[in-house]
């Protein structure tokens, strides 16, 4: 079992690095500074989520969609340490990334669940969201295609000046 766990860890570290989107720190930071969009399947009845709802979903404190009949949520996160993930953690979850990591360790130790599956590929996330009506993910607005639907947060669309994940000046 220890061997299996080790394999899992090695894999989860190696997979992002081995992915086709090679991380260039400057470029990734620039991507994270732009406007972010939370996307769902185009056929999803959900069109808007509050920041609280988003936070509950991404902290796995709620596993069903608010709208009736939408089923369980299939959420996709960005890999830990990625600038986009860090920005989302701070902005939406209002937590430092290390606190998020500690949160998930705590949950896992208590047997309350595992962290969401993460990826560093916007393309894959888009593909999954485009194929799965229950799926939800976030990514730079510039990379969003027509195959997915961009959600409003707290009733504000990405073009609203008070949009939660609007572009910020790169740090």
């Amino acid at each position: 079992m220890r061997g299996l766990l080790l394999g899992w860890i090695v894999l989860s570290v190696a997979l992002p690095a081995a992915g086709q989107h090679e991380a260039d720190p400057g470029r990734e930071r620039a991507r994270a500074a732009g406007t972010m969009a939370v996307v769902v399947h185009p056929t999803s009845p959900v069109a808007s989520l509050s920041r609280t709802e988003l936070r509950a979903i991404f902290l796995r404190q709620r596993s069903t969609w608010p709208s009736p009949g939408a089923g369980t949520v299939m959420m996709l996160n960005w890999s830990p340490g990625h600038p986009i993930r860090e920005r989302f953690d701070r902005t939406v979850l209002a937590m430092e990334p290390r606190d998020v990591a500690a949160y998930w360790i705590d949950r896992r130790v208590r047997g309350l669940g595992t962290p969401p599956r993460s990826s560093s590929s916007a393309i894959l996330m888009l593909a999954i969201v485009a194929r799965n009506p229950e799926a939800i993910a976030y990514l730079p607005l510039a990379e969003v295609t027509r195959r997915v639907k961009v959600l409003r947060i707290d009733g504000r669309g990405p073009d609203h000046p008070a949009y939660l994940l609007r572009a910020v000046r790169p740090r």
Binding site: W8, T72, R131
Partner: protein
Amino acid sequence: MTLRSKLIIFQVAVILVLAGVIAAISHDYFQRVHPRQLEGLATKAELCVRMLRGTADISLAAGDRAQLHRDLQLCSPTASRAEDDLRFIAIYDEAGQLLASRGRAPRAPPQMAPSRPGLVPADVGFRAGAAVTLEGKTLGSVWVEYGADRIAAGRRQLVLFAVLGLAFALLSAVVSVLFSFHLVRPLRRMIAFVHRVARGDLEARLETRAADELAVLVADLNWMTEELARSREQAIQSEKLAAFGQLAAGVAHEINNPSQFILTNLGHLRGQIARFAEQVGTMEGCAKRGETILLLQEMREIIDESALGFSRIINIVDNLRSFSHAGDRERVRFPLRDAVDPALRIARNEIRQRGQLVVSVPEELEVVGSPAQLSQVFLNLFVNAAQALGEASSRNVVEVRATDAGDAIEIAVSDTGSGIPPEHLGRIFDPFFSTKGREKGTGLGLTISRQIVADHGGELAVRSGVGEGTTFTVRLPRAPADLPAATLPDPPREQALARRARLLLVDDEPLILRSLQRVLGRTHEVVAVSSGTEALALIDPRAPFDLILCDLLMPAMSGMELYQRACAIDPTVDARFVFMSGNAFTEESSEFAAAMKGRILNKPFDAATVEQLLSVRLDAAA
């Protein structure tokens, strides 16, 4: 325990040890190695499935086939290598459709519980499968199968090696047992042969066609048997010779006593006849005077011929005496020529009638021993050489060549005659072996010669080949410088003794006493007694004898005893004792004779010898 059973036991032990080792290795393999190999394979399959399930979820959810292929490659990086046991790795969607695979994956997901890896039927590998889920939603399944072909191959190899090893050990055991038969059979033949030889069959021989160590052993055994036969033959020969020597000594003793009085009487008779003839010559007017003189003449011739015949008998007995080791043991240093020349004088004529004679004996060469005995040896060799030459021819040569060979002196007598055939060469020294025929030889010549040369510390060797002639080589030790040189014997005194002497004769043979008394009694006062006891009674210092002539061996009291007891009565008689000997053949008498050197008269002797002794004795007394 026989060699063969030892070998079989050894072979069985080897097989058992080998079988034990093979069993231990197999046991370890099947108990430990093989299960771990299978377990390892199962673990590998399970790990691979879990890895794939962990990575393929996103690709499956995204429906990205290219990404699925990359996931497959990541989870089976070595699938293309020969040593990888991966049979297939495959990803199916929820509907059971094959999305991506490596290897020969089935088109539909296998129908088995996909939780744990399981043995694929027919024990050829492990298959593991798992459902792929993302956030609780089942997206499809992944399957992996690893083949146990390499493990099975290793297992088959081990079994093969074990079987081959046992078979080889068994084969080698069979071969070595067969070889042992091959080895033991000649050994048993040798044992049987040795037993035969031990039972006395020295004519037995082993045969072999092989050319190995056993053949060498066989050859050596044969050689040893031949040597044994030869040395036994030699032992028999020397036994024969020793027995013959004893017989000869006994015969010589028996013959010498009568010879003594025959010789004395013949000499006396001859003298009497001469005196009678003288008297008849002076008789005037005797009617039959002329007739009587003729008769006396004839009688004298008869006596002469008898004496000649008798001298031959004495000669033969003398020869026989050489075997008894009781001949005179005088050892003097003398020039070799003194032994060679007398022999040459006798044999020269016989050689010259047939061929040339070449003699090369340096004057300065000296040897030790008896000149008379060695002369006998040389005469023998010269006569043999002459007889070997056959018909007269200018190419015939007899060569006598003496050389100084350092520590020894070698005298080679060679002839250009017919040579000795090899089958005779081994027997020429045997007593009574002769090819010459009755009238030419007794067959004792070379036997006696070899005995004499051996007594002198030398050796007599022969080299001969048919048509090449023969060479006899006498090898004698060189004379040590401290030995006395031979003294020339005094010239015999012809004149009669000046005075009448007093003699005591002691001999148990009355005929000897009578004959000697008859001869000596004419000129001397002779007292004759037939026993030591009588003689001892006559020993009186007041009436001494000038000479006491005493037989050495007598019944009751021997000459030696008489001598000792007489000396006890009158010490002056010591110098006056002279002994007569038929043949001193007891050990004691031999020693005594050696001590009384020069005072022994060998029977038969003539009256003149006694006269000579008397004159020497009387001169010394005067």
